[in-house]
């Protein structure tokens, strides 16, 4: 009887501590890539904040939009301007969502898992529901996340109908993200 009570107590303590786990990073990397016959454009951002709650499956990203760096200063100015992403008015891009196949992921066992994620992506003040996949790799309790997906600029209110931007900037942009989570 004493052993049973002890076992239940240990199980409860373990569950409580695991359920409070929160993984986070403040140095995630996001890259976007646009390709047209006129030119390829790439920008990198190493300041992404993200949290991942293994027990609930909650996944959140916050991207400081002015931290994207371009090779050319002029491109960077255009990207930040009111005509493009208006980063003064909309300084952060955000994703708030959840892993929908949480039972397929064992955060306690080393391995690579494909997580299906659904949620709301907000860029340029426009929110859109998205469903994408993210590869989660667990090694000794540390989790890394990698994903690659496309976004259509017009879905987020970024539209060019004439001039150089309409020739040089692709309508669809490839997004690549790499996150190294650690326990808080």
């Amino acid at each position: 009887m004493k052993n049973l009570i002890l076992t239940i107590a240990i199980a409860l303590i373990s569950f409580t501590s695991f359920s409070q786990d929160k993984l986070s990073t403040t140095s995630g990397h996001i890259k976007f890539f646009s390709s047209t016959p006129a030119e390829d454009i790439e920008a990198n951002n190493y300041k992404v904040t993200s949290i991942l709650k293994p027990t609930e499956g909650t996944l959140v990203f916050s991207v400081p939009m002015q931290s994207f760096e371009f090779e050319k200063a002029l491109m960077q100015k255009h990207y930040n301007s009111k005509k493009f992403l208006d980063t003064k008015q909309f300084p952060k891009g955000k994703f708030k969502g959840a892993i929908t196949n949480l039972s397929a992921i064992d955060f306690a066992t080393d391995g690579t898992y494909e997580a299906a994620v659904s949620g709301t992506l907000t860029i340029h003040g426009v929110a859109k529901e998205i469903t994408e996949k993210i590869k989660l790799t667990v090694v000794n309790g540390a989790v890394t996340g990698n994903t690659e997906f496309d976004i259509i600029l017009a879905d987020y209110g970024v539209v060019f109908t004439k001039g150089k931007p309409s020739e040089n900037i692709a309508k669809t942009i490839k997004i690549t993200a790499s996150l190294n989570y650690t326990k808080e």
Partner: protein, 152 residues
């Protein structure tokens, strides 16, 4: 008359070419060469964003991304590296949830080598975004400052 018109066209073409070259080779914002907008304590800066995000964004962020260059004073709470191997100093008091995250560059990384958690420092850099706290998501976001260097 004809030769004057040809000369004028030549001069205009040269001006257009020079302007095109200037735009193409325009340098990035020289953060360390820019006079600081103000010197501010890390806690004060965080609280400005928490009190009124819109007013703080209006004050510090620029429409073309060349936002305000600041000198931030504070206590080092953490020293880390990002995925580009740039050193990152977090200025924050132990009792606070959020601070100012200052990212150094390849050229200024070595300035961090002699520093330790608990040291008080002055860091000059360009602000990229403000602090925020989302209670529902338990998401804390530091003020982001990049292109940093230590100010003696």
């Amino acid at each position: 008359m004809k030769s004057k018109i040809i000369k004028l066209i030549g001069v205009l073409a040269l001006i257009a070419l020079s302007y095109g070259a200037y735009l193409w080779f325009m340098p990035h914002q020289n953060v360390q060469g820019t006079k600081a907008f103000k010197t501010i304590d890390a806690t004060v800066l965080v609280n400005e964003f928490l009190a009124d995000k819109t007013a703080a964004n209006e004050m510090y962020l620029d429409t073309e991304g060349e936002s305000k260059v600041l000198i931030i004073t504070g206590t080092i709470a953490d020293i880390s590296k990002d995925q580009l191997n740039q050193k990152v100093i977090l200025l924050k008091n132990t009792s606070e949830k959020m601070g100012v995250s200052c990212t150094f560059t390849v050229d200024t990384n070595s300035q961090v080598d002699q520093l330790e958690v608990g040291n008080t420092v002055k860091i000059k850099g360009v602000i990229r975004s403000g602090a925020e706290y989302d209670e529902d998501l338990d998401l804390t976001e530091n003020v982001i400052v990049e292109k940093s260097a230590i100010v003696e």
